[in-house]
Amino acid sequence: MSLILKNVSKKFGYKLAVDNLSLTFTKPGVYGLLGTNGAGKTTTIRMLLGIINKDKGQITWNNKEVNRKSVNFGYLPEERGIYPKTIIKNQLMYFAKLKGMSKLKAEEAIKYWAKILEVEEYLDMTAEKLSKGNQQKIQFMTALLHDPELIVLDEPFSGLDPVNTEIIKNIIIDLVQKGKYIIMSAHQMLTIEEFCSDILILNKGKTILQGNLKEIKNTYKANRLEIDVNQDISKIIKDLKLEIEIVKNNQYKIRINNEEQAHKLLTKVMENKIKVNKFEIQKPTLNDIFIEKVGETK
């Protein structure tokens, strides 16, 4: 199974929303779609779901052209929405039927996912009586009920408390293990780093970075040192002409240009017989890479 987008473009009036985007997703896993607001993520998602037509290019799933009729993907949109005055069970059944499920299969799937997402007690209630987090879990169910092979999750964790975030995270891990293809768009870079093997960063419709996340990070040198000591070392840091990013309770985050600067600092600290609790040379985070890449294009 594979999802391939080849030179896909979309214009709205004079505005180029997506410019010549290409993407290949050939192994089960999570593919991260990143970008600032208005970068073209939602337009890309809508095109690959067949909701809107592309102007140029090709989108195929299993070598078949994607259109509204040919695909049956699961989708959790960024804009959350469920029928406020409709019984939860009825609206889940409605969406399951529209996805081609029989009543019996839909009932089984609703029962199964309600148990996993811990929303069984809300099935006979109207949506307006549910908390935002629970409404989000219900919408997550509509994306998964029909057991789709490819699932698009747009900001799946926004607005969720830590307990519910953990539930959704476990489900995503489980789905990947079952061989599902997931495209995830999120603003929290930590989430993307946690799940995604491959990423694509968009800015103003253009692809500014794309590829395997590990390989991308390997191309970057270490740029940060995290050191936790039992007394103030700010004078030593200043003597070595290093820049402190954050300091809290003698835990320092320091900007470095190479690993040698970090080793020099450690030597000085040891010479002063200061106890070191933590010493970690870090490569740039996805957040750093994102800010750097988006900044470059401005």
Partner: protein, 405 residues
């Protein structure tokens, strides 16, 4: 097709389950029952002093103007118990207060004028028309009898005058009933079609549309939704009609009911035509409302977006009313052929017996072609507008949305 059924089934179930639908149906049922009970209600609240069959009326002719012949009034079968006695105003008043009589009449003559002073215990009461006419006739007859005329001569100078209105075309049916049915049809079509707009706006503003359009096509949503709401409206109309029929049978005078039904000329063909025009008229306005509903991003904008459609519908309705005021003429022909008015006009023109089959078929063809054109435009704009959130949509934007891929 399966998806269309799923959408319409869901829409219908949701519509029937909604509190606003249940409450509005119950309120309308109550209003219908009350409407058919108006004569009974009036009877309950009517003043006890009002004259009824057997009411005692004391007539006083102190000046002997009627030459002692006032007793003849009891031969006129007016239904009142007329008592003739010379009395003063005070005596009559006392008798009314003591409930001995219901009313009193003092006959007086001033120059050439004869006054009837109607004395009653109710400021709003009027002297019964039949009684005053009977008094006038009695006086005239007394005076004529003095002329010693033959019966033929009397008939010649006192003929009965009647007025009969005849139209250039023979119009069947009761125009009042036709106007009421036309209003009912307009209300049914307009109410149901408006629901489509609000339903689509709700889906759009509650952001459910994004999930919905990935599950099925916009065309399926529009068609399924309009069918579902149309069926809901039809169910409501059937409930209201049944309430009306039941109330008419229970509360109305049987003879009056029979008269109305016979004069209405509702044949099975008329009923079928009304049904067909209801479906087509509903579909035309529902599709226009689907279009306007899809262009709204905020619930508060729905009213403004729907106003032009309301104007079109009301213009169509007023145009349709020309079939009642002037059943023959250019305006009526226009009302029967113009798609915005034909659903409210054509069934009733048929009911009035003024329409040929050719006219009916032509009207239906024009309406169906208009619906197909509107459906094409509405579905195209709907498909492009439902995921479009932002500022209010102008007419220029609508053209852009229509042209968009």
């Amino acid at each position: 097709m399966k998806d269309i059924l799923t959408v319409s089934e869901f829409t219908l179930k949701e519509m029937l389950r909604r509190k606003s639908f249940i409450i509005s149906t119950i309120i309308m049922m109550i209003l219908i029952v009350l409407g058919f009970n108006i004569p009974n209600i009036i009877k309950i609240f009517s003043n006890d002093n009002e004259l009824y069959a057997g009411s005692k009326i004391l007539v006083t002719d102190n000046d002997n103007i009627f030459e002692g012949k006032l007793e003849n009034l009891n031969k006129e079968e007016l239904g009142y118990n007329i008592m003739v006695k010379n009395s003063s105003f005070k005596e009559i008043k006392k008798n009314i207060e003591n409930n001995k009589i219901e009313a009193g009449i003092i006959v007086e003559k001033n120059d050439n004028t004869i006054n009837f002073r109607y004395i009653v215990n109710d400021t709003m009461a009027m002297m019964p028309e039949d009684l005053s006419k009977a008094l006038e006739d009695l006086y005239t007859n007394i005076q004529i009898s003095k002329l010693n005329l033959r019966e033929e001569q009397i008939k010649q100078i006192t003929p009965e005058f009647t007025t009969v209105v005849e139209q250039t075309e023979e119009v069947k049916g009761n125009t009042l009933v036709i106007t009421l049915l036309s209003c009912l049809l307009f209300y049914a079509i307009y109410f149901c079609a408006y629901q489509v707009s609000s339903s689509i706006t709700t889906e759009k503003t509650s952001k459910i549309m994004e999930t919905l359009v990935t599950s099925t096509s916009p065309r399926t949503i529009v068609i399924g939704k309009t069918i579902g709401i149309g069926l809901g409206g039809l169910i409501q109309m059937v409930i209201l009609l049944l309430t009306a029929v039941l109330s008419a049978n229970l509360f109305l005078d049987k003879a009056a009911l029979k008269l109305v039904l016979t004069s209405t000329q509702i044949s099975p063909i008329n009923a079928i035509l009304m049904f067909i025009f209801f479906i087509l008229g509903y579909y035309l306005f529902a599709l226009i409302y689907a279009l306007t509903g899809s262009t709204v991003s905020k619930p508060e904008d729905i009213q403004a977006a729907n106003t032009p459609v309301a104007f079109i519908a009301i213009a169509g309705f007023y145009l349709s009313q020309s079939i009642i005021s002037t059943p023959v003429g250019g305006l009526t022909t226009l009302a029967c052929l113009c798609p915005i008015s034909s659903p409210f006009a054509m069934p009733f023109r048929v009911m009035m017996g003024l329409s040929s089959w050719q006219e009916i078929i032509l009207s239906l063809i024009i309406l169906i072609i208009t619906i197909l054109i509107v459906a094409h435009i509405a579905i195209k704009i709907y498909s492009n507008a439902i995921l479009n959130y932002g500022a209010k949509t102008s007419f220029k934007d609508l053209i852009k949305l229509y042209k968009a891929k």
